[in-house]
């Protein structure tokens, strides 16, 4: 998890409880749902920018937040965000994922969004990127290409496979 202060992203010290697999009723079968509790540091106000994680065969993820009261209230920030295109095939199963603060769900806006008390942090609901982020990406792009132009590195390969003309080698390394 990363928070921002000015323009720097810092990792947030959070404690993550072991995952709890939910059952239907008191016994088997497993419902296929697992809950992870993440606790933010106590007593500090944190502005969470993004949550990064590596997936391991989770098909979709929902994120709920407990706003401190009074009254404390659970709100859903992200619902059923798909991490795997098809839960029965490998696509996305081991990918690195990121839920960004400004990320909009790809599906159309539904009623529950209006219940979000975090809504003031989402800058738009129409699916269009906000003008600030477009202009900042364009700026980023120009800056990057400028750097590329200035650097003297070239990607052209040198082509030699030997070391100073010598290619007498040991047996292949099996490491």
């Amino acid at each position: 998890m990363s928070s921002s202060s000015s323009d720097v992203l810092l990792p947030v010290d959070s404690s993550i409880k072991p995952p709890v697999f939910l059952h239907l009723g008191d016994t088997e079968p497993l419902s296929g749902v697992c809950v992870l509790d993440v606790t933010l540091p106590f007593g500090k106000t944190v502005n969470v920018e993004e949550i990064s994680f590596k997936n391991h065969y989770t098909a979709s993820v929902s994120m709920r937040l407990l706003r401190t009261g009074p009254p404390s209230q659970w709100v859903t920030a992200v619902r059923d965000l798909p991490l795997m295109e098809n839960p029965h095939t490998e696509g996305g199963s081991q990918d690195y994922c990121c839920i960004h603060r400004t990320q909009d769900p790809e599906k159309e806006v539904s009623d529950w969004l209006s219940d979000l008390t975090l809504a003031d942090q989402h800058t738009d609901l129409e699916g269009l990127p906000p003008p600030q982020s477009v202009s900042s990406s364009l700026q980023q792009m120009f800056a990057l290409t400028e750097v590329m132009m200035q650097s003297n590195e070239t990607t052209a390969s040198i082509g030699r496979f030997h070391v100073d003309g010598c290619y007498d080698i040991n047996l292949l390394s099996l490491l």
């Binding site: 029965h88 490998e90 690195y96 400004t102 496979f161 070391v163 007498d168």
Partner: protein, 525 residues
């Protein structure tokens, strides 16, 4: 990452790759030289130079170069993802690939020790001269190859693919109807006929195709003449993207060489010829153990083939140079495989004395030369032939002998083949399985070579047109299933693996496009 920053990153990566390329310096030089021209005005310098570059064709060349980069670029990824994740996201596949590589390397090491032949040695001056003199007829004087054996054959590789298991997959249930029918046990996402119909819409029954509508009994005015005219225009325009789209319905024989070179952005300018000559110098200077593997492979496969034996000498030249080409190492960024490493003798094991072996990182296996052989029909200039082959290998063929989850990778192709048969010819699949003739055991060797050496050469080129046109090897899996569908009646009568193999032994009379078209668009769903 949002779309805007993804695009910025892609652009920056492509700019970085093209910077320092020969094209870059050529365009810079052209831009400088055009300043002398009267139509370039100071007040509108930028627009005038751009417009000059456009009309003189340089912008199109740049477009083609960018298009080429897009083909091989890795998709944008999470900043925390390490390079091995980009090569192959699934840990168990990376592990399987690493352990397969280790087996291959051990085998090569043993060969070196047993034969008493070093992995690499510098040729003495006399030997260098001799080789240089008979460069164009290397086939006439082969070394003693009796004790050289191929490092592996496709069937060894198939066993490894069959043993792949997803550790997260719960195999505790009883044998499921679908999951245990076939040999491939990993749940990759492969497309079925309805999806293939959409993706390969240019192949449908209502579209003209080379390989079908250019048949002798169809009047050329119905399709062929106009299609060839369009092809000529595409070649004139020198547009990679247009050539790729055009290729989906096939390439006319007279235009194929130019079209494929365009699609692959493979040039044959003086610097390419010089680069090839540098590679030949590398062959002459150093003798590699893998050269013996190449000689053996050519002798065992291409030299015995009615279509390709005439190209024997070309094959040696191209493959020996290919082994020395360090530019091929680039493709390991997106290949799940890793190039083998060794150290210069007597210099310890630090990074300065680490080298890749062979220089291009690719150890040839039995049948490897068949990737080159069909191209000999198209290109008779060695440097051009080489350039096209290298690009085809770096885009497609490497996926046929490495373990990955890529949709064009051999694991996906095998699974797709099995699923297509299971879904659309269940009776046939069941029957073959009952007589212990798993279809994949027969089809695997076709797919690993992209059918080279199994089809007649003109049919093979029509198939490879579509590989290029759709930028995917999927059509190879579709054809494999279509062949089984075509011979289904005979296969239902056989009672052993050997007889099933016999029914499918000779594919040389098959016409690939009708088979693919019927399988995709005339199969009842």
């Amino acid at each position: 990452m949002d779309e805007g920053s993804e695009l910025s990153l892609t652009i920056a990566q492509i700019v970085q790759r093209l910077k320092g390329s020969h094209l870059h310096s050529q365009i810079e030089r052209q831009a400088k030289e055009c300043l002398h021209q009267p139509e370039i005005k100071l007040e509108s310098l930028k627009e005038d130079v751009r417009s000059f570059l456009k009309t003189s064709g340089w912008e199109r060349q740049l477009q083609n170069a960018v298009y080429r980069e897009l083909h091989v670029q890795l998709p944008p990824s999470h900043p925390a993802a390490p390079p091995e994740h980009l090569k192959e996201p699934l840990a168990y596949m990376r592990k399987a690939q690493a352990s397969w590589e280790k087996r291959v390397l051990k085998s090569l090491n043993s060969m070196s020790t047993e034969l008493g032949v070093p992995l690499a040695r510098m040729r003495p001056a006399a030997e260098q001269k001799e080789l240089s003199n008979k460069w164009n007829e290397m086939g006439t004087d082969e070394p003693d190859l009796t004790s050289v054996r191929p490092v592996y054959a496709p069937k060894d590789f198939l066993e490894v693919l069959i043993s792949l298991r997803n550790p997260n997959h719960d195999g505790s249930e009883d044998v499921g109807v679908r999951s245990h029918w076939g040999l491939i046990q990993v749940p990759l996402n492969v497309r079925d006929i309805p999806q293939l119909r959409q993706a390969y819409s240019e192949l449908n029954l209502t579209s003209g195709q080379l390989g079908i509508d250019d048949h002798a009994h169809i009047h050329p005015d119905m399709f062929e003449n106009e299609y060839v005219q369009i092809g000529k225009k595409v070649v004139l325009e020198q547009d990679s993207a247009a050539a790729q789209q055009y290729s989906r319905q096939g390439c006319p024989t007279g235009l194929r060489a130019d079209l494929w070179a365009l699609i692959l952005n493979s040039t044959n300018q003086p610097q390419d010829v010089m680069y090839y000559e540098q590679l030949t110098a590398g062959v002459i200077q150093h003798d590699l153990l893998v050269d013996n593997l190449i000689y053996k492979d050519v002798k065992l496969t291409a030299s015995n083939d009615d279509y390709y034996f005439v190209f024997e000498d070309f094959l040696y030249q191209v493959l020996l140079c290919f082994s020395r080409d360090t530019a091929v190492l680039e493709h390991f960024k997106y290949n799940s495989a890793t190039p083998p490493k060794s150290f210069i003798q007597g210099k310890g094991e630090d990074e300065e004395s680490a080298v890749v072996y062979p220089p291009n990182g690719v150890i040839p296996f039995h049948g490897f030369s068949m990737y080159v052989a069909p191209l000999c029909f198209l290109y008779n200039e060695p440097s051009k032939l080489y350039s096209v082959f290298r690009e085809m290998y770096s885009r497609y063929f490497f996926r046929l002998h490495s373990i990955s989850s890529s949709p064009s990778g051999v694991v996906s192709l095998c699974l797709q083949f099995e699923r297509l048969l299971q879904t659309h010819l269940p009776q046939l699949f069941y029957h073959l399985r009952q007589i212990e003739a798993q279809p994949l055991r027969i089809a695997f060797k076709w797919m690993v070579r992209a059918f080279s050496g199994y089809l007649s050469s003109d049919q093979l080129l029509l198939l490879w047109d579509r590989i290029l046109g759709y930028d995917s090897l999927e059509v190879v899996a579709v054809l494999a299933a279509a062949v089984f569908a075509f011979r289904a009646e005979n296969l239902m009568e056989v009672t052993s693996l050997a007889s099933a193999e016999a029914v499918l032994a000779d594919l040389s009379t098959l016409k690939v496009m009708p088979l693919i078209q019927i399988f995709l668009f005339a199969t009842a769903i």
